[in-house]
Symmetry: C2
Subunit: 181 residues, 2 copies
C-alpha cells in the first residue's frame, strides 16, 4: 500500500479514536483537527466530508480485520472453528478495539453504513463458515445456531470494551464451554 501522508494518517487515527470514544455525531471536525494537530480544512481536503471520513475509517477497519477472519475460515475442524470464532473478539480487540466499538455505535447513528459492513464479503463469509461448521457437527438448526452465536460474538466485543481483561477472558472461556462436545 502506498504510504499516506503523515497528516492524513493522523486524521484517520485520531478520528477513529474519537468517534469510537464519543460517538460519530458528538465529535465535531474541529475537535478532530485540534487533536490531530491539523487544520480543520485539511480534513475536508483529504476526505471531502465528515461522513466520507467515517467511511474511509470503516473501509480501513474491514481491511484490517480480514486477516483474522481468514484465520478462522482456514480451520477445517468444525469444533475448533467455532472455538476460534468465539475468541475473535479477544484477538481483534487487542489491536482493533476502537474500530469495533465504532462499528457498534454507528449501527444507531448511521444504519446504512453499518449495513454496508454487515453485507461486506468479510462478514458474510464468516457467517457462512460458522454455519457450515454447525452443519458438519449435525446441530439440528444450524441457521439459528449461527444467528445466536454471531449475536453473542458481536456483543462480546462490546462487553470486552467495558470489563478488564481477566473478566473478558473468563467470559469468553465460558461461552466456548457452551460449544464443547
Amino acid at each position: 500500500m502506498l504510504k499516506m501522508t503523515d497528516k492524513k494518517e493522523r486524521i484517520l487515527e485520531v478520528a477513529l479514536r474519537l468517534f469510537a470514544l464519543e460517538g460519530y455525531a458528538n465529535v465535531p471536525t474541529s475537535k478532530i483537527a485540534k487533536a490531530a494537530d491539523v487544520s480543520e480544512g485539511l480534513i475536508f481536503r483529504h476526505f471531502g466530508s465528515k461522513e466520507a471520513l467515517l467511511d474511509a475509517i470503516l473501509e480501513l477497519g474491514i481491511e484490517q480485520v480480514e486477516h483474522f477472519v481468514a484465520e478462522v475460515k482456514q480451520e477445517t475442524n468444525p469444533r475448533l472453528r467455532i472455538q476460534k470464532v468465539i475468541q475473535l473478539p479477544l484477538l481483534v480487540t487487542r489491536e482493533h478495539e476502537e474500530f469495533w466499538k465504532l462499528q457498534q455505535s454507528i449501527k444507531y447513528h448511521n444504519p446504512e453504513l453499518a449495513t454496508k459492513y454487515r453485507q461486506s464479503e468479510v462478514f458474510q463469509s464468516l457467517v457462512k463458515s460458522v454455519e457450515d461448521a454447525f452443519s458438519n457437527l449435525k446441530y439440528q438448526n444450524p441457521k439459528a445456531e449461527t444467528q445466536l452465536l454471531m449475536m453473542i460474538i458481536t456483543n462480546l466485543f462490546t462487553i470486552v470494551e467495558q470489563e478488564d481483561l481477566i473478566i473478558k477472558e473468563a467470559f469468553v472461556k465460558f461461552v466456548q464451554s457452551k460449544y464443547e462436545e
Copy 2:
C-alpha cells in the same frame, strides 16, 4: 397517574419513536415538532431541553416495563422463570420495544443516561431474579449464565432485520430450548 396534556404525551410518543428509529443525535427537535404536529417551542416549554426530553422518555419507559418484570419475578419455578425472561421481548408492546432499542442506542450518545437505566431498580432486580434461578438450578456459573442470557435478551429486542413475527417467535423458541432440562 395524572393525565398528561395530549400534546405533551404526543411529543413523548413521537420522540421515542424517532429517537429509537434514527438515533437521538440525528433527530432535530424541529422534526419531532412536525411529526407530533406541535410547535417546536412547546417541546422546550414542557421539557426544558432536548436532553431532558430524552430523560423523560427513559423514565417513562422504565415505568412501563416494570409490570412485565414483576410478572417474571413472581414466577417461583426457576426453570419457568427463565423461560419467561426469554419470552419478554415478545410480550412487550411495540412502544416498549422502541424504548429498549433507544436504551441500547444511547449507550453511545449518552453513556451516563444509559448507566442510569442499567442501574435502575427494575433492571437490577430482573438480573438478580435470573441469577437466583440459575443458582437454584445448580448451574455452575450463575453469574456468567445470567450475563450471557441478559445479553441475548437485549438483542432479541433489537432484532430488526427480522420484523417477521413468525421468525422472531421461532428464534425465541430456539433460545428457550437451550434452557430446557
